[in-house]
C-alpha cells in the first residue's frame, strides 16, 4: 500500500516478517529476564518479606494479585490501542497483536479474580464479595470475553478483526465509566469505612518485592504477547516464502537431530 509520506519506519514496524525476526533476537534475553524477575520476586514476597500485622501470612497473595490486576487492565488498553492502529492504518500486524492480547488479558483477569478469592477466604471468611474492585474486575473479564467471542464469530478474519477492534475501543471509553459507577454503587450500598481491598499502607520492606513483581509481570506480559503474536504471524503468513523457508529449515534441523 503506497503512502506519500516518508513514514517508512512506521510501515516497517507493520511488517510481520520484520517483527518476527526482530523479536526472535530479543526472545532469549526476555525469557531470562522474566524468569529471573519472577522467581526472585515470588520467593522474596512469598518467603522473605515481613508478615503483615493484621493479616499474617495470607496477605502475601497480593504479590501475585496486585501485579496481575494491573496488567489485566493495562492489557485491555494495549489491546484497544492495537485495534485502533489496525483500524486507522489498516496494519495487519496490529490486528495480530490485538488478537494475541485478548486471551492473555482474559487469563490475567481470571487469575486476578482467583487470587482475590484466595485472599478473601482467610481475610474476610468468604471467597467472593461484591466489592468495587472485584466487581469491576469481573466486568473487565466479560469485556475481554466479548472481544474474544467476536474475534472468532466471523468467517472472515478481517471482519472479526475490525469488529473486535471497534468493540475494544467502545470498551475503552466505557472502562473508566464502569469503574467509577461500580465504585459509586459500592459506596452507596456499603458505607463501611473499611475499604476492604485497599492495600494496607505499606512498609518499604513489603513494597520492594511488590515493585519487583510488577516489573516481572510486565516482562511476562511482553513475553507472552510476543510469543502469541509470533505464532499468529506464522499461521497467517503461512503462504509467504519466508515462512516456508523457516519451516523447511526447522524440518532439516529436527531431522538432523534425529539422526544423531
Amino acid at each position: 500500500m503506497a503512502s506519500n509520506r516518508d513514514w517508512t519506519w512506521f510501515y516497517r514496524l507493520g511488517s510481520p516478517r520484520w517483527f518476527y525476526e526482530t523479536t526472535g533476537r530479543w526472545l532469549p534475553w526476555l525469557w531470562t529476564l522474566t524468569l529471573l524477575l519472577l522467581t526472585t520476586g515470588l520467593v522474596w514476597g512469598l518467603g522473605y518479606a515481613p508478615q503483615d500485622a493484621k493479616q499474617g501470612n495470607s496477605f502475601r497473595i497480593i504479590y501475585l494479585h496486585v501485579p496481575v490486576s494491573f496488567l489485566a487492565l493495562a492489557g485491555y488498553y494495549l489491546m484497544a490501542i492495537a485495534g485502533a492502529i489496525g483500524l486507522i492504518w489498516k496494519m495487519k500486524l496490529s490486528y495480530m497483536v490485538m488478537k494475541s492480547a485478548a486471551p492473555i488479558g482474559a487469563a490475567l483477569t481470571f487469575l486476578a479474580l482467583f487470587t482475590g478469592a484466595v485472599w478473601g477466604k482467610p481475610t474476610w471468611g468468604t471467597y467472593w464479595v461484591w466489592d468495587a474492585r472485584i466487581t469491576s474486575m469481573l466486568i473487565l473479564l466479560f469485556l475481554y470475553l466479548g472481544v474474544l467471542a467476536l474475534q472468532y464469530a466471523f468467517h472472515s478474519q478481517e471482519s472479526g478483526n475490525k469488529a473486535s477492534a471497534i468493540l475494544a475501543l467502545v470498551g475503552t471509553v466505557n472502562i473508566p465509566i464502569i469503574y467509577k459507577s461500580v465504585d459509586w454503587w459500592y459506596t452507596l450500598h456499603q458505607p463501611a469505612t473499611i475499604k476492604l481491598t485497599s492495600a494496607p499502607s505499606m512498609h518499604i520492606d513489603m513494597f520492594q518485592p511488590l515493585l519487583m513483581m510488577i516489573i516481572a509481570l510486565y516482562c511476562f506480559y511482553a513475553l507472552a504477547l510476543i510469543l502469541f503474536t509470533r505464532a499468529e504471524i506464522l499461521q497467517r503468513e503461512r503462504k509467504a516464502a519466508w515462512v516456508c523457508e523457516l519451516a523447511l529449515q526447522a524440518d532439516k534441523d529436527s531431522a538432523g537431530e534425529a539422526e544423531e
Partner: protein, 224 residues
C-alpha cells in the same frame, strides 16, 4: 431521494413497527410477564417486594430492551436495505439515530408508561413512582443506543443474539447502576435528581458517540 435523513428513517421504522404490532409489543409483554415471576419466585410479602422492586424492575426493563435490540438491523441486512442505506448520500449517523429513536419509542417509552402499573404490583413505594419513570425514560434511551452498537457488530452473524448479550451487558452496567440508584435514593428519602443527572449525562454522551461506533460497525459488516 425520499430515503434521506433522520425523520425519514424514524417515520419508516415507526410505520414498520406499526405494521407488525405483535412483534413490536413483545418487549412490553416480556416486561409484564416477568414481573409476575418475581413475587412467585421470591415472596409475595409486600415489604420484601418493596425492597426488591426498584432493582428488579430495572433488571427486567434491561432484559426486555436487550431482547428487542437484536432485530434492529437484522431485517435490513437480510433484505438488502442496509446496503442501500450505506450508499445513500447522507451522514450514516442520521439514519442510525432515526432507527434507534424509533426503537426507543416502540420499546423504552412503552416500558416507561407501564412501569407505574408494574410498580403497583410489586409494592414499589409511591414516592418512587416518578423517579422510576424518569430513570426508565432516560435509561432505556441509553440502553437502546448502546444495544444498537452491539446489534451493528453482530448483524451479519446468525445466532447473533446470544453474542449480542455478552457484548452489551458489561456496557449496560453503568446505566443500571445509576438507574436503579435513582429509584433507590428516592425510596431512602434522598435527592434522586443526582443519579438521574448522571444518567442524563450518559445519554448525552451516548447520543454523541454511539452513532459513530454504530456507523463504523455497519460499514465493516457490509464488507463481510
Amino acid at each position: 431521494m425520499s430515503n434521506i435523513g433522520f425523520t425519514a428513517y424514524l417515520k419508516r421504522d415507526l410505520l414498520l413497527s406499526y405494521r407488525r404490532l405483535g412483534e413490536a409489543a413483545s418487549p412490553l409483554m416480556f416486561f409484564l410477564l416477568v414481573s409476575i415471576l418475581i413475587p412467585l419466585g421470591v415472596s409475595p410479602d409486600p415489604e420484601r417486594l418493596a425492597e426488591l422492586a426498584p432493582g428488579m424492575m430495572w433488571v427486567m426493563a434491561l432484559l426486555a430492551t436487550l431482547l428487542s435490540t437484536e432485530g434492529l438491523f437484522a431485517t435490513d441486512h437480510q433484505d438488502g436495505s442496509l446496503e442501500q442505506m450505506l450508499i445513500a448520500p447522507q451522514l450514516l449517523a442520521l439514519p442510525v439515530l432515526g432507527k434507534v429513536t424509533a426503537h426507543w419509542l416502540v420499546t423504552g417509552l412503552p416500558l416507561t408508561m407501564v412501569s407505574p402499573l408494574i410498580g403497583l404490583m410489586l409494592s414499589l413505594p409511591p414516592v418512587a413512582m416518578v423517579p422510576m419513570m424518569a430513570s426508565l425514560a432516560v435509561g432505556t434511551a441509553c440502553l437502546s443506543l448502546i444495544g444498537a452498537v452491539g446489534a451493528a457488530l453482530t448483524v451479519s452473524l446468525r445466532k447473533g443474539g446470544l453474542l449480542l448479550s455478552i457484548l452489551v451487558i458489561p456496557l449496560y452496567i453503568p446505566v443500571i447502576i445509576f438507574g436503579s440508584a435513582a429509584v433507590q435514593t428516592a425510596v431512602d428519602g434522598f435527592n434522586w435528581l443526582g443519579p438521574l443527572a448522571i444518567l442524563a449525562a450518559m445519554l448525552c454522551a451516548a447520543i454523541a458517540l454511539c452513532p459513530l461506533a454504530i456507523a463504523g460497525a455497519l460499514r465493516l459488516v457490509s464488507s463481510n
